[in-house]
């Protein structure tokens, strides 16, 4: 699975996700990536989110929308929302994976509960951050 989230010079947010699914899957199984709110979501004033991992868990937890809702309804910041959903809620349910997210203030969160996540980001003209494993 691959994905991208961004905030532009006008403060608008967007998210995109694409995947080839799971090896040897049957029955036209579909994961979270194309489900708006589960694997992909972009709001107007809160955040944009793209997920990757074991899709069934991300669908049941409505992960991407959950992050946006925590920010909108509970007033938590992006870091707190992502940490709660990925490292607490998903872990308790057994869901492995992670997400990337950005908010209107250009805060970038790359959060995962697995051994690693292929990830990279850039804020303004700062240098590119790229990692695979946990820091």
């Amino acid at each position: 699975t691959v994905g991208a989230v961004a905030v532009d010079v006008s403060g608008n947010l967007a998210a995109a996700t694409s995947t080839g699914g799971m090896t040897n899957k049957k029955y036209n199984r579909i994961g979270d990536s194309p489900i708006i709110g589960a694997g992909t979501y972009a709001a107007n004033h809160t955040c944009a989110v793209s997920c990757t991992g074991h899709g069934e868990y991300f669908m049941r937890a409505v992960v991407a929308y959950d992050v946006a809702c925590l920010m909108e309804y509970k007033g938590v910041n992006l870091q707190q929302a992502c940490d709660y959903v990925v490292k607490d809620k998903l872990v308790k349910q057994g869901g492995e994976g992670g997400l990337i997210a950005v908010d209107q203030a250009a805060n970038i969160i790359l959060s995962f509960n697995s051994e690693g996540m292929y990830r990279a980001s850039r804020l303004n003209n700062e240098s590119i951050y790229s990692r695979i494993y946990k820091d």
């Binding site: 699975t1 691959v2 967007a14 694409s18 090896t23 579909i30 074991h54 492995e96 695979i132 494993y133």
Partner: protein, 173 residues
Amino acid sequence: MQKIAIAVHGGAGTILRSAMSPEKERHYLNALESAVKVGHHILASGRTALEAVIKTVQYLEDEPIFNAGKGSVFTHEGHHEMDAAVMCGQTLTAGAVAGVRQVRNPILLADEVRMQSEHVLLSGAGAEEFGRERGLIFEPDSYFYDEYRYQQWLEAQRTDTVTLDHTEDRKFG
């Protein structure tokens, strides 16, 4: 002044350090950094976040080391079924496709659904038909063939398991 930012991912899972050589790791990181450059250039030019994420994901779909587009894994039947979605925060418009085959860039098809249909999610043959009507590029199965993915599939078939990408020691039967 409003800041610009972009982030990308290329999948998550139990990525084994023991299976990662320095050269392979550098290859993955180079691909991720190139993808970030694609999106950042668009944002730095004053263009939209929507365009940035679409072009960035399109770049990643064309990179065979990631499980999307050209690098998609094999289904049980030996095909490649791809899913994609895009959403614009400004307009709250969204488009998605699921279970599509032979579409070179599913993210472009998802964006066509967003822009050119009254729907949000199209699937399977119908989504492909829509893509052909919209003039998207389709590729033969050979375009999506990758020897590493094929070996992954053979192993999954042998053990009758379904596996997440990048998760080589955990399987879901």
